[in-house]
Amino acid sequence: MQVNENNEFRPKIVAFCCNWCSYAGADLAGNNRLAYPADIKIIRVPCSCRVNPMFILRAFQRGADGVILCGCHPGDCHYTSGNYYTRRRMAMLFSMLNYLGIEKERTRVEWVSAAEGAKFAATMQDFAEKVKALGPNKRLEDLRCKQ
């Protein structure tokens, strides 16, 4: 979480993007100058299935307010099946986090193809707004790491 000079809450959001579709979709959003909030920071992974739940929990622990994971659409995975595993893993993990009382809107999986620059930007815009509306993540934060 961060707060700017207007005392406005600006969420910290980590977006994991697979190299082949979603990262390329993010690049396309850039090519087309489709704006989305700067609160989104992208981490490139070869495939969405590279994203270990530990990374997501770590992000929350270190102060992220939302984590979104983007991959190729089901059926279009560069590695044929990676995103199918992602889908199950993240569905289970996010359900568990919600079971522990973490707001559902802080986590999301979205499929964005390399051609969907507009969808990427719109998704990020929407996610950032939803997370912002929730306010700072307190439930998963690691207070020790705060300055």
Partner: protein, 331 residues
Amino acid sequence: MQTITRDILLEKAASLLASGTVNRVLGWKKGEFIYDVTPAVFTNAEDMYRHFTFDCFCGANFSKYLIKETQKEGKVLVFLKPCDSYSFNQLLTEHRFDREKVYAVGIPCDGMMDASTVKALAPEGLTGAERNGDALILHTLYDGDVTVSYADHLPDRCKHCKSKKVVAYDEMLGENGEVTDAGRFDEVAALEAMTEDERFAFWQNELSRCIRCNACRDVCPACTCEKCVFDNPGSGVENKAISDRFEEKLFHVIRAFHVAGRCTDCGECSRVCPQNIPLHLLNRKFIYDIDRNYGDYMAGAEEGSRAPLVNYQIADPEAGEVVSGAGGDKV
């Protein structure tokens, strides 16, 4: 139904030792107190006659011992209660031991008592306890014998027993039971029905008691890694003790995730937890979610089955569309 007694098991073990089928027996022996029966390895009948025990406190799962014993020479005899047999299969699926080195004897079970139950029933001066049919008789110093219903005081994992069927054995003693499903997701469903805030408060309360003793991990039949991620400096999550508020959640969530689809719901984690955290509710949540979204799956029910999290269907629901029972969300 034939009741399995210490004598029957002793006789079986002795004959297998005598015939050379096995050269060791994995069984139970008495501990300091009546209720802390622990697993033990016997190499001869004489030791067995002296120390081997079998009563209503033999709930411990042998899995970790089994892995260790099968790395030695010779063959080991193991007694498998229904829930143990699921772990047995799951370990086989994951190539954790050599089946050739085990002689498995299945034994029926209708629930094992655990320490915390009897301690709660007789907080002071407990000198002994025994089962007599449907009754649990507690011998105490001050109140004499206290008799309660056995079935009513079983720990949660036995009340909500998933199966009375031994699914793996070389030989079965007594009559095998059936797969049951005694409302074991009721507690999960009750939690799911709470609001996010209530759930958070519940888990905050439970998990903040965690002292990171690692007992849950060490007893867990699914936690059989050579080296746990939490002990591995390269994993990025290496951590020996609780250092902050979320740490314990991170540990338990990751542990539950690592065993998701592999957990046989044996309930050992909750049994051994010195802080009485209902850890099985995390594992059951995963089992429940998996059943509801990807079809019923019971780890260990079948040797060689593919765990749901290393499997997929093209028509799986999206992460946002899974049935997770989450109710009472903020609107």
